[in-house]
Amino acid sequence: MKLTYEEAIIELEKILDELEKGESSLDQSLKMFKKGIDLYNYCNKLISEAEGEIKILLEDDNGDMVESSYPMGG
């Protein structure tokens, strides 16, 4: 599953709508429910990732760009 957050949310909404209609069989509903929970967990993971790194680029002697950590609070 390599959806963007928005795509996952759209899928989730679709499933919610479909379930809300209540026209699907119990079997289908359960399948949709499982997929919905997977999507929810996926979205949750995307926004619960660890704090992203902050790096600053510096040019080394050869003119190549090197990443080093950015001094925070300075």
């Binding site: 989730l12 209540g22 992203g52 902050i54 790096k55």
Partner: protein, 409 residues
């Protein structure tokens, strides 16, 4: 002989008098381009007038600027008339403007306008060529000064709104001759990487000269050529540069650029939570509905169960039986009453009662009651039963005729 040292205020006061008494300085008219224009909340206007080589501070008080027919702004060429005096506290001389006339646009502004028209014609500002800003970039590249307020503001806002976002800073000068080139190089470098989802470039507020790097033609073309979406945030809300026109999105300030580039994690969390709630509600409801369906089916099954129908029939039978019973009982009761009636009537006719009142019963030898004279012959032995015994007799004679006739006699 030693000269008494003067106080600073004495010197400033002296210079002020000197300046004010000068024929030329006390009443002059001078032309220049407005820069660093500020309309203070007190109503006074503060700005610089400048030409290619020099600048002079100027102030136009509220009472004088209220009658202006135009709004002064940076880059505007004006003719200002008034006098030069000294602001003693700071030891600064400045132009006190009494009248201000528009002369036309300044050179910098003209260059800006010309470039804007040219690039617009080429289609660099077209909405249709602007790239969509990703809604949740994993990594944002920032080209700006590594020491300015802009980068701090951007980091603060990104961290607050969406902590998972990674930030890669390409430090670049943001003012001066080399700024445009450095910024262009930074943008091209970040664009050449494949891990950057969004670029932000910009700087904090400054004079029109300080922001001018962002009006560079090559920088504009570099921005246009980028494959990565870019947000520009240059100066304040009121500042527009060529870079802003060509970028995919213009933000009024660096903080705003950061706001626009990532979603608010709190909103996302709230949205997700709401959807999970919806989910739980729908699932609970679905289960409840299905259960209700099953309950209904169950009820129907029970209702149509043959055993139930048998029971019903039995009940029906029971009813019939009851009715029948009731009928019989009624009949029996009626009959009982009839029998009692009969008994009381019989009682009236009881032979014992008859005998006790003086009548007798005549029987033949065999014990048959003799009701008629035809049943005996002369000489037959008969018995007459009375209340207290019987008389044995023999028939002497038989006479025909009714006892009623005798009574009637």
């Amino acid at each position: 002989m030693e000269v008494r040292p003067l106080k600073v205020s004495e010197v400033n006061g002296y210079i002020k008098r000197l300046v004010l008494s000068d024929m030329i300085l006390s009443n002059l008219s001078l032309e220049g381009e407005i820069s660093n224009f500020k309309h203070h909340y007190s109503g006074h206007m503060y700005f610089n007038l400048k030409d290619e080589k020099a600048k002079i501070k100027a102030v136009m008080f509220k009472g004088d600027n209220e009658s202006l027919s135009f709004i002064p702004e940076d880059g505007l060429m004006v003719v200002a008339s008034g006098y030069v005096s000294v602001y003693e506290r700071d030891g600064e001389y400045q132009l006190y403007v009494r009248h201000l006339k528009e002369k036309g646009l300044g050179d910098l502004y003209k260059a800006f306008e010309e470039l804007k028209v040219k690039l617009e014609k080429e289609g660099l500002f077209l909405e249709s060529s602007k790239k969509a800003i990703p809604t949740m970039p994993k990594k944002i590249g920032v080209v700006t000064s590594s020491t300015g307020a802009a980068i701090r503001d951007i980091i603060t806002v990104l961290r607050r709104r969406f902590p998972p976002c990674q930030i890669l800073i390409y430090p670049a000068l943001v003012q001066g001759n080399r700024a445009a080139e450095e910024i262009s190089k930074g943008l091209a470098y970040l664009d050449s990487r494949d891990d950057i989802d969004l670029i932000i470039t910009g700087r904090g507020g400054g004079s029109i000269e300080e922001l001018f790097a962002f009006n560079d033609e090559n920088l504009a073309r570099t921005i246009y050529s980028l494959k990565t979406p870019i947000i520009t945030a240059i100066g304040h809300e009121t500042d527009f540069t060529i870079a802003d026109f060509v970028s995919d999105l213009r933000a009024p300030t660096p903080s705003a650029a950061a706001e626009l580039s990532v979603p608010d994690i709190l909103e996302l969390e709230a949205g997700l939570k709401k959807r999970l709630k919806d989910f739980e509600r729908i699932v609970t409801e679905t289960i409840r509905k299905k259960r209700a369906e099953i309950d209904l089916i169950n009820a129907n099954l029970k209702y149509y169960n043959p055993i139930n129908r048998l029971r019903d029939k039995r009940q029906e039978l029971d009813g019939i039986f009851k009715d029948m019973n009731y009928g019989i009982e009624r009949i029996i009761a009626t009959r009982s009453r009839e029998i009692l009636d009969l008994k009381s009537r019989l009682d009236i006719l009881n032979p014992a009662l008859v005998i006790s009142s003086g009548y007798g019963i005549i029987e033949d030898q065999a014990g048959n009651i003799i009701r008629s004279i035809g049943l005996v012959e002369q000489g037959d032995e008969i018995s007459i039963i009375l209340k207290d015994g019987k008389i044995l007799a023999s028939v002497k004679d038989i006479e025909e005729g009714g006892w009623q006739d005798e009574i009637n006699l």
